[in-house]
Symmetry: C2
Subunit: 346 residues, 2 copies
C-alpha cells in the first residue's frame, strides 16, 4: 500500500506539473489545477458536454494503446462541441485507475489527453483520479459560442435542406476491425492499414469545420459517433423530417473498400453502420452549399452532399444501385468494445 | 440483450423526462438535455469541479442505498464550489451501470441526484450513461462567482488569522461505522444512530455558509472531505503557514462521543481523522469573526473558532488536555470504502 500511495501522489504531482503551464498560458483561466475547483472567465454562451469511456465497453486495453485512450476520450467529447458549431475552451478529466495500471501507464494516457488538447487549443484544468476495478475516463468539455442562439441543434433541419458530411467515412470501423483481427487485413498495404488503425485510435474532432458550417447556415448538425445511419435517425427525428441518403455519394476512406473485400464484408456496413468516424453530418439549405463547401475545405476537410430532407419521417439509405437499405436504431447495449457503448443524454 | 437495450433507452427517456422540467425553469439554460451538448448563459466567473465515486472504493452497494449514492455524488462535488464561496448552477452526470443494476435502481440513484439538486438550486443538464463493470458516478458541477477575484482559495491564509469550522464534525465517520458494523451502536438511541447514518449517506454542502464566509473576508477555505487533519494540512501548506487546532473546541455531532465509547474508539479519530463531513474549514482575520459568525448562522450552521495560524509550517492538533496529536497526510489509497479513495487534482 505504501508504494501504491506514493505512486498516487506522484501521479497527481506529475499531472499537475504538466497541466499548470497550460493553465498559465490561458488568460480565460483565473485558477487552474491545485484548489477545490477551477475558475474560468467565460464569454458569450457556454457549451457543455461529458463523455465516458470504459475498458471492455468502448475499448480494450489489449488493442488500444493508453495514449490513444486518452486522446480519444477528449476528442470524442470535443466532437460534441464541434456538432454545435462551438469553439473548444477547457476540459476536466476523471481517471479511474485499476490495480494493474501503473504510474507510467497513467502518464501515457495523460500524454494522449494533452496531445489532443494541444491540437484543439483546449486547456486541461485538472479533475479527479480514483481507484477503480476497470480503467475508465470521463471528460467534461467546456466550449463557447458568441451567443446561445448560435448553437446548431439537431432539430433545426427543414424539408428541402440537403444533407452533407465532412471528410471520409468508414475508416474508424475498418481500423477497429484491423485492431481486433490483425490478420483480416491480408494483402492491404501496411501504410493504409496503419492509417485506418490511427483513424480509429486517434480521431480528430471537426471543430473548425463545425464553426464553418454554423457560419454557412447549417440548420442542424450531429457528429458521427454512432454511425451515419443511426446518427441520421437522430437528426431526422429531432427535426421532424424524412432523410434520404445516397450511399454511393458518401466519401469512403482509402483502404476501407479493399479491406471489406479482403475480409468478406459489405463496405456499406463499415461506412454507414460503423461509428466513431467523428465527422459531422449537417443539414443546410441547398443554396448555401456553394458557400459552405470552400469554408469547410479551408478547415482541412471536404464537404460532400450525400442526401436530402423532405416532409415525413424516417431515414432511407440507398446504395449505388438505388437499392434500399433499412436502418435500425443503433444498438447501444449490444455494441461491442470499440463502438459507442453509451447513451448520451445531454 | 434486447431487454437490456430496451432498458437503456427507457432509462434515458425517463431521465430526460425528469430533467427537462428543471432545465425549462432555469433561464440560464438555453439548451438542456437532448442534443449533442447543453448550452448555458453564464454570468461573472465560472467555477468548475468534478468528482467521481466508485462502488467498492467510495461506497459499498451493500450498505449505501442507491438514492444516497446519487445524493452524495452531487453533494460532494457541490461542496467544492462551497469551498470557493461560489453559487451552484448546473451539473452533468455520468452513470456507469453494472450488469446487475436494473432500471429501477438507476432511477432510484437519479432520484437522489435530483433531490440534492433541488435542495441546492442546481439544474441537472443531462450527461452520459454507459455500461461498466462496477457502478460509478461522476458529477461535473458548474458554479458561479460575480468575478474571478472573489474565489476563496486554499492558499490565501495569513499568519495571525484564526481557523473556524462550520457545523459539527465526526458524524459522517460515525455513520459509516454504524453502516459497516451495525452492532457497533450498542445502546445508542435509534434516532441518534439514524441521524449519524444519514450524515454519512446524505451530506449537505455548505453553499450558503461558503458565500457568507467569502463576504465576511475569509482568506482561505477548504471543504472537509478528507478529514479535519488532512484538509488542514492542505490549507496550511497552500498558504505557507503553520496551523494549531484545539480539538477540545471542535463541535462534535450528537452521538459521536457515545458511539466512540461504546465501540472502544478515540472520539478524536472520528472527529479529526474521519472524512466526508463536508463542513467548511476557513481562515479569517480575527476581527472578522464577529461578523462572520452570525452571517454563517443565518445559513443554518454555527461557525466555531477552533485554532489559529502562525508563521511556519505544518499542523498541530492538541486535545483537551493540551497533548499533541501528530497528523499524517491522509492516506488516499489505503482508505477503505466510504472514505475518500480519490485524489483531487483541480
Amino acid at each position: 500500500v505504501d508504494g501504491e500511495r506514493k505512486g498516487e501522489f506522484e501521479l497527481i504531482a506529475r499531472i499537475a506539473e504538466r497541466l499548470r503551464a497550460g493553465s498559465e498560458k490561458d488568460d480565460r483561466v483565473a485558477l487552474g489545477i491545485g484548489d477545490d475547483a477551477a475558475v474560468t472567465v467565460p464569454e458569450g454562451a457556454s457549451v457543455l458536454s461529458v463523455d465516458a469511456v470504459v475498458d471492455g465497453v468502448h475499448f480494450r486495453r489489449e488493442t488500444a494503446p493508453l495514449r490513444s485512450v486518452g486522446w480519444k476520450a477528449l476528442a470524442a467529447t470535443l466532437s460534441d462541441l464541434a456538432a454545435m458549431g462551438a469553439s473548444a475552451r477547457h476540459a476536466l478529466v476523471v481517471l479511474g485507475v485499476p490495480p494493474d495500471l501503473d504510474l507510467d501507464g497513467c502518464l501515457e494516457l495523460y500524454d494522449g489527453l494533452a496531445a489532443a488538447a494541444s491540437e484543439t487549443g483546449t486547456t486541461l484544468l485538472g479533475g479527479d483520479v480514483t481507484r477503480a476495478p476497470a480503467l475508465f475516463v470521463t471528460v467534461t468539455a467546456f466550449g463557447e459560442l458568441a451567443s446561445p442562439g448560435d448553437a446548431v441543434r439537431r432539430g433545426g433541419a427543414r424539408a428541402g435542406d440537403v444533407l452533407a458530411v465532412t471528410g471520409e467515412l468508414g475508416g474508424a470501423a475498418a481500423g477497429l476491425l484491423l485492431l481486433e483481427r490483425p490478420d483480416a487485413g491480408g494483402s492491404l498495404a501496411s501504410e493504409t492499414a496503419g492509417a485506418l488503425r490511427e483513424r480509429h485510435l486517434e480521431p480528430h474532432p471537426r471543430l473548425e469545420a463545425g464553426k464553418a458550417l454554423a457560419r454557412a447556415g447549417a440548420t442542424a448538425m450531429i457528429d458521427l459517433s454512432d454511425g451515419l445511419g443511426a446518427d441520421c435517425v437522430h437528426l431526422a427525428a429531432a427535426s421532424g423530417v424524412r432523410a434520404e441518403i445516397d450511399l454511393g455519394r458518401v466519401p469512403v476512406q482509402d483502404g476501407v473498400s479493399d479491406l471489406a473485400s479482403i475480409a468478406g464484408l459489405d463496405v456499406l456496413d463499415l461506412v454507414a453502420g460503423g461509428g466513431e468516424d467523428y465527422e459531422l453530418l449537417a443539414a443546410l439549405p441547398a443554396e448555401r452549399v456553394d458557400e459552405a463547401g470552400p469554408a469547410v475545405g479551408r478547415s482541412g476537410a471536404a464537404l460532400t452532399v450525400i442526401g436530402e430532407l423532405s416532409a415525413g419521417e424516417g431515414v432511407e439509405l440507398r446504395d449505388a444501385t438505388g437499392g434500399l437499405r433499412q436502418v435500425a436504431g443503433f444498438d447501444h447495449l449490444a455494441s461491442g468494445p470499440g463502438s459507442a457503448g453509451s447513451a448520451r443524454s445531454e
